[in-house]
Amino acid sequence: MATSDDNLQPKFMYEPVIPDIRQWPIYELSRDNKHFIQQYVAQSKAQIIQRTKTIDALEDTIAKAVYLEDRRIKESPWKIDPPDEKAFWKQIKKNLLNYSQNKANLQAAENDIYNDLDNIVNRYAQEIVGHFEIPYYRFAAKFLPIFFNRLLNAAGQRNWQRLFGKNLLITENILLRGHLAEIRNLCTKGTVIVVPTHHSNLDSILVGWAIHCLGLPALLYGAGLNLFNSKPVAHFMNRLGAYKIDRRKKNTIYLETLKMYSRLTLQQGAHSLFFPGGTRSRSGQLETQLKLGLLGTAFDAQRLNFMNPQPHHPQKIFVVPLVISYHFVLEAATLIHQHLKSVGKEHYYIDKYYFPNISYGLKFFWKLFSQQSKVWLSFGKPMDLFGHDLDPEGNSLDAEGKIIDISRYYESKGSIVQDVQRDNEYTRLLSQHILARFYSENIVLSSHLVAFAAFEILRKKHRTLDFYGLLHLPEEDRIIPYSYFAKVIERLLAQITVLHENGKMKMSESILQSPEEVIKDGIKHVGMYHDKKVLRKTSEGDITSDDMNLLLFYHNRLEGYKLEEIV
């Protein structure tokens, strides 16, 4: 059952807030795509020219882009990359050489540089932009539940109990929690940015589905370009309004063009989905640091909306933190492996993502139903870009509940001004607000709790071992006597209850039981997908783990609350 903090009648599926899809901001955005792209390219170019300041610096920026693109094409080619890519960049490179020889005719050389910039930005813009098409949305919305229900029935047959139960629906295993009514209301008062935690490749599909169930207009979503490698997925994603983000492209021109897309769409009121952590959490921990690039575009959009208010566009931008809690993450084994490999040497690496191709996704949903597992989506309290609470009209409120005018945060000497450094700092502060909400909205599941307890008990018992020693603990040393385990769980539950009551975290129903029941439930659900048992009972009734890496992964979900102090 969906329950919420704001007395919304609990339901699995809510009435659409805006019934006519043609009035959805995402649709309005793609209605005049051609005109939009023209405007988009022009603004991106202007922005890059403004940032680089001189023509020499611009030339330099193009040269760097050529160099980086050249390397990318050689080092990590993808199926989706256009075939003319090599030729395109070769031509730009040639042009670069030409200008330096053509410096005698300055005007002509300058024009050539602007021309090249135009071509590059155009190319990127065409790649980034998504199109939202109503028939595809309708199809997905209708087809998915039918498909899931078929799957569910099939899965159900493997579980005899289900034969006698009522027909379960997909929606009943995806639980929406938190400030649902407030969010439904606010999406008509301004532009909503949903910022979820990110643990699994399925997050975006789940969030898309959850947003549909909540009756909100579809969100504009930046999907990794790698997801488009699979043709059928690409076909759908394109038409469901997803725009493309290529994490391999690191040059300034690409990044500015990408950010401009986000800024323009926000300015036009398109509700959006950002994964502020950037990529999936490798360690299984809640995000501890956020990427500020896309988040920063919200501050630009907000400022421009205040400077040039448009009669038909909502002015304000709201942020909704969203915490997704799974009993098991399909890719946990790979993620924790990557995490452990990179710990200690911070370095950026390009993801070798393999998208949830169909069978991968099916596996997840199959497990979700046949194993009676659930996913919790906890929608946090919406806030403005400066972390303030909002009233039903979308006005920002101070701590005393008084309405404040946040446009004045952009003011200097009486008028709203652009100040990149100031807004970067505002973005950093927003990311702290979001992180704080992630921790307070985190829903503790029985599986997280048992994994946390088991790992911490072992860590304490073998405190002389270093971290890696602990992960290679011999099997016979991993056994925890049941009675001791139960005592620790009891202590943890008491502390979690205190944290819950103080608004520091949230408890799921799965831990609102006796310690014995919580242990039973937790062991059953923790990482149920994996081949090796994350936790199991031995024949003597004690607790042990068959996979310490995965135990660490699920344990990490409760890091950051100082719970280890009471184990």
Binding site: F386, H388, D398, E400, K402, I404, D405, I406, R408, Y409, E411, S412, K413, G414, D419, Q421, R422, E425, Y426, R428, L429
Partner: protein, 348 residues
Amino acid sequence: MEKVGVIGAGSFGTAIANLLAKNNDVLQYVRRAEQAEEINVKRFNKKQNIEDNVIATTDIKQLAENTTLIYAMVDSGNFSSMMKTLSPHLNPAHIIIHGTKGLNVLLPEGKTLAEMQLLSRQQIRTMTEVIQEESVIIRTGALSGPNLALELAQGFPAATVVSSYFDEVINLGRSSLHSANFRVYSSYDVIGVELAGVLKNIFAIASGIIYGLELGENTRAMLLSRSLGEMVRLGRALGAHTEAFYGIAGIGDLIATCASTKSRNFNVGYQLALGNSLKDILSNLDEVAEGIRTTKIAYCLSNFYKCETPIINAMHAILYEEKPIKDSIGELLLHKHSADADFVSIFE
């Protein structure tokens, strides 16, 4: 001319108001009507003449409505309550730069600071944090440096640091304060600058003791250089970068405060060395000596983070455990030997 606000009219607040008056009209908030009159009519306050374009008011609302840049110059004990009075009149366009050398402590219910032995970073707030938590203001800055009020009033050349996460605030601080005899440096290490200004008061008391005991300059030099190390170590534990400690607001302020007989904290130490009791000394002070309270806070923080701070510990013993000064110094001299300037390289 842009009007700038100043809250507080202690000796430092008065000196800053006068400095600001060189570049701006100044509206100064004071609590007591008599003090406003001293400023507005007699043009004399805290042993300083008042510049013509400084006007005092007892109406804090008037101050908030007529200025966007406000300098908050009240002592740390009154800072939080001042913010509560000011807060309802502030809006997001306001910018506050504070010059308060103190920390706000969030005590567990029913506890007094004197009873505490441990304090974590989460239990203390710097003044910029107090401003942000008690109001809608985000753009804040901290002012700190070797700025003995009476020397500023005499117009001797001096420098200060304005630190903020915002260039805008730093620039405003500079343009409003800068003058021929007053230089304004900038820093992004807000926590470092705030902590340096706070912690140095402990060592000013220690320096006063050494002066009172007539132990000479070698001893004082030893004290100052080892004090810097304790500031750096504790600062690191509390999340500061360490650049600030090596600059104007760090070592600069440390030298000034520990050398000057004009400093209040120094005087507390001096009187102690002469054998006066702390109670008597405090009852004769007309302004707060922040160092006494800071010693307790720093001692608890140091305990929590297990920092090596023998001087802070010795000052705590003298001020809070009634340990004879001679015994404390004796113990300090027996402290284990370590490498010189060890605090510079660790972790860096």
